[in-house]
């Protein structure tokens, strides 16, 4: 075996504080040289913490009502909410009513909460990675507001990799993109297949040695073991899963790109339930899946040799 780089890749953390912290810890436990976070950093839900007339606060989430009557309880509830990837926000009843009725206010409130969480993460990464020599590369995913890029770009503890070529382990050029093909939810970084192809192709053309390259593309290639998901009936809002009907949620463009350029390794996420490995020509394609809402860190540890993947291991910690 030639010089080997040990990469720990995870994706689709969706705001889960616990899963992010586990990732930082796992880098040391698994003795990784490099960490890569593949996008979809944004959580999905705001949990109002509303003060009641008798002085306690109430939060309702995951089918449970939490009465907060002490600092210790508040700390416990906040952590529990953040661990799920939700955003706890203190607000009055009037503000809660405004969240329901004013979509612009909701978006602003949400984006602020997301940005604050990401800033916390960059602080946590600085604190925990200091002195380890481990580099962490991070991008947004299709579910992430474009404004988050500024937060990530400003981080001094993790390298924002979207749209750039980063050198991994001194040998492997990595291109990264968190964009995806159009989904039923029309996410912030959902684009047409043509635009997705152009966006990634532009980066790939600049790679000097594709034989050793890594493609970190949030959306998996279509018709692989990495993009299996349930067919959705989008006539409902939210969409309704069609039981027993399988679908392919990946991108035609991503597949074409991987087929065309044949890097050593491609890393993907986006489809949480489709943990798997596939090969497109000489390229090893991996998706570790995601179980962020259960606080389980799904990741894949890749031992990348000079021109190919020497070995890999899916982990669930």
């Amino acid at each position: 075996m030639g010089k080997q780089v040990r990469i720990l890749f995870t994706t689709d953390l969706h705001g889960s504080r616990k899963t992010f912290l586990k990732f930082l810890k796992a880098l040391k436990i698994y003795k990784a040289d490099v960490g890569i976070i593949g996008g979809d950093l944004t959580g999905k839900v705001v949990v109002p913490i509303v003060k009641t007339p008798d002085g306690v606060a109430v939060a309702e989430y995951a089918g449970q009502v939490q009465v907060i009557d002490s600092d210790a309880k508040r700390h416990e509830v906040l952590l529990s909410i953040e661990d799920c990837g939700y955003y706890p926000i203190d607000m009055s009843k009037e503000e809660m009513a405004r969240l329901k009725s004013d979509s612009q206010y909701f978006t602003t409130t949400f984006q602020t909460a997301v940005s604050d969480r990401l800033k916390q993460w960059t602080d946590m990464a600085r604190e925990r990675l200091n002195g380890t020599g481990i580099n962490v590369y991070i991008t947004g995913g299709n579910d992430d507001y474009l404004e988050l890029d500024d937060v990530l770009r400003a981080s001094d503890s993790m390298t924002f990799a979207e749209g750039k070529i980063e050198m991994i382990g001194g040998t492997h050029e990595m291109i990264s993109s968190g964009y995806a093909n159009i989904t039923p939810w029309k996410c912030p970084r959902d684009v047409t297949e043509e635009e997705l192809y152009t966006r990634i192709d532009k980066m790939a053309q600049k790679v000097s040695n594709l034989e050793t390259a890594i493609f970190n593309l949030h959306c998996p290639p279509i018709d692989t073991m990495l993009d299996r998901c349930t067919q959705l009936d989008t006539s409902y809002d939210p969409p309704r899963p069609l039981i027993g009907v399988d679908a392919s949620g990946g991108s035609v463009s991503v597949r074409k790109i991987v087929e065309k350029y044949q890097p050593a390794l491609s890393l993907h996420g986006h489809i949480h339930e489709s943990r798997g490995i596939d090969r497109i020509g000489r390229t090893t394609c991996l998706n570790p899946g995601s179980e962020y809402s259960e606080g389980i860190l799904r990741s894949v540890l890749v031992n990348l040799g000079e021109k190919k993947v020497d070995s890999f291991q899916f982990l669930s910690g």
């Binding site: 810890k25 109002p48 969409p239 039981i243 027993g244 943990r275 179980e291 031992n303 291991q313 669930s316």
Partner: protein
């Protein structure tokens, strides 16, 4: 998952609607294990446990199954994307336990044995009886010969192999075909056969059946008065009701049949994605209740009602011991068809059995291959097992290996018909091994995986996971220990079965440690696969 009350979800959130209760119910009943119990219960367990009331035993089995449904619904709600016993046991206890119970015992012993027996059930309950009885009713000797051929070693092997090839093709083609065929072919045909069988059996009487049996036995066996000859071999006795035997049978029915509705975990991805204990539990209960109250109790109760306890007792004795000698095997299927001379009705009664065995074979093949796939992805089995078909995106190598293992058991079991009862009992005996491991995982999970458990919706049902695990473990231990300690169940296992179980365990352990050592040389530590990472 849908938006919880009191929170606000983004529009662009990837949220999907909860699966409705109606969907969960329908999904559950299409995935019930169809008719398999009827094949096992008669003649073998009728012979071993005389006096057991099948109806009460089935209800006991279903009640015990509620614990298993709660166990699996809990795991499914806690880890909706983890998928199956292999992960539950790896995470809950240790990867070595899951390798042993799921890979070593289940994939390479229990599942292919069940596939073998279920393949036989399609033939013995459906195909052979229909051909034989259609021939007897129409005076067509060629059909009778075809029925006898189907029931013989070569016929069973040939037909089971054909089913296996079809099941392999369906699985390689993709799960959507498996799921659709289950919903649109198996389900309606099961309903039709279930109704027709119950109607036939409840519309006959023991005296009426005596006339029919003598008529058909004259045609098939060339003897007259066969009814009286058959029941006299056991002294024309109708065994008295026996509570202990009924309870034994209830536990066996639970662990071997109604428990197994939960084994449809791979098809529950969408319900699991809803992170919904209630939906999963309802789906499992629907499947188990459908199996018990529609596919088992009416048919079994009708069998005893219409044929009479004396005859059932005598036929069970003949079926296991072979006395008196008969040119046909008086199994559940053929005896049911003797209550009519209408060939079309015979077909409707048989078709459910014909397809049921095939569909169970198909489902077992799916699950065997998924366990192999999981083991391969986890690094304890060769990577080749997770390589997909280029065209269909299914784990073709794992499927082919699963089919090959089944084919080996076909040859082993079908060509030793005098050993059939032995293998049948080994199948029932090893049935609990999968649940054994998962029940242990359930018992200890709140302590071994505190953070996952405490943050899951299951934690609000204090003690549910541990208690349901304890009940399931107790049932499984009864079967495992009972088959070597309870006199009624000792036949026909003996030392050989114990040696087989131990041998598979030792080979499994040896493989695990050898392959783990090999993987270590490649920089992979399989012990890390499910290691809980502390966040702080």
């Amino acid at each position: 998952m849908s938006e919880p009350h009191g929170t606000f979800a983004r529009k662009t959130s990837g949220v999907v609607r909860d699966v409705s209760l109606r969907d969960a119910f329908i999904f559950g009943i299409t995935l019930a294990i169809p008719f398999a119990a009827n094949f096992f219960l008669f003649p073998l367990y009728s012979f071993l446990l005389p006096g057991a009331d099948w109806t009460i035993a089935t209800v006991i089995g279903l009640c015990l199954s509620l614990a298993n449904y709660a166990l699996y619904a809990s795991f499914g709600a806690m880890m909706p994307r983890s998928g199956g016993d292999y992960v539950f046991q790896s995470r809950g206890v240790h990867p070595l336990l899951s390798f042993l119970s799921v890979i070593s015992w289940d994939v390479f012993l229990q599942a292919p044995l069940f596939v073998t027996i279920l393949g036989a059930s399609s033939v013995q309950l459906g195909i052979s009886p229909f051909l034989t009885m259609a021939g007897a009713a129409s005076g067509n000797q060629a059909l009778i010969n075809a029925g006898n051929w189907a029931a013989g070693s070569t016929g069973e092997f040939t037909l089971a192999a054909l089913f296996l090839i079809l099941a392999l093709a369906a699985n390689i083609g993709g799960l959507k075909w498996v799921a659709r065929s289950q919903k649109y072919i198996l389900f309606p045909l099961m309903i039709i056969s279930g109704i027709v069988i119950a109607a036939l059996l409840f519309s006959t009487t023991p005296s009426g059946f005596e006339t029919s049996f003598n008529h058909y036995a004259q045609i098939l066996n060339g003897t007259s008065g066969s009814y009286a000859t058959l029941i006299s071999a056991t002294g024309a006795v109708a065994p008295a009701f026996d509570w202990l035997h009924t309870i034994y049978l209830g536990i066996i029915i639970g662990t071997s049949f109604t428990f197994w509705t939960v084994w449809t975990a791979p098809f529950f991805g969408e319900i699991k994605g809803a992170n919904n204990f209630r939906g999963l539990f309802i789906a499992f209960v629907a499947g188990g209740a459908f199996q018990a109250f529609f596919l088992m109790i009416p048919e079994l109760a009708g069998f005893q009602y219409g044929l009479g306890s004396q005859f059932v007792n005598g036929a069970a004795f003949q079926g296991v011991v072979g006395i008196p000698s008969l040119a046909f095997h008086p199994g559940f299927g053929i005896l049911t068809l003797m209550t009519t001379d209408n060939i079309a009705v015979m077909f409707l009664a048989s078709v459910g059995y014909m397809v049921a065995g095939y569909f169970m074979l198909q489902l077992f093949l799916t699950n065997m291959s998924r366990y192999l796939l999981a083991g391969s992805i986890d690094g304890v089995l060769p990577l080749a097992l997770s390589s997909p078909s280029r065209r269909f995106k299914t784990p073709v190598n794992a499927l082919v290996l699963s089919a090959l293992v089944c084919a080996i058991y076909f040859a082993l079991v079908y060509f030793q018909p005098d050993q059939f009862s032995f293998w049948e009992s080994v199948a029932v005996w090893t049935g609990p091994v999968l649940f054994f491991g998962t029940s242990i995982a359930g018992i200890v999970f709140p302590w071994t995986n505190k953070s996952i458990y405490n943050s899951s919706p299951i934690s609000k049902y204090k003690g549910l996971l541990t208690i349901s695990g304890l009940i399931v473990l107790a049932c499984n231990l009864f079967v495992i220990i009972g088959f070597i300690a309870i006199p009624e169940l000792l036949f026909p296992l003996g030392t050989n079965a114990t040696l087989i179980i131990i041998a598979f365990a030792l080979v499994g352990w040896a493989w695990y440690f050898a392959f783990a050592h090999y993987q270590k040389g490649k920089g992979i530590d399989v012990g890390l696969t499910y290691k809980e990472i502390p966040p702080e």
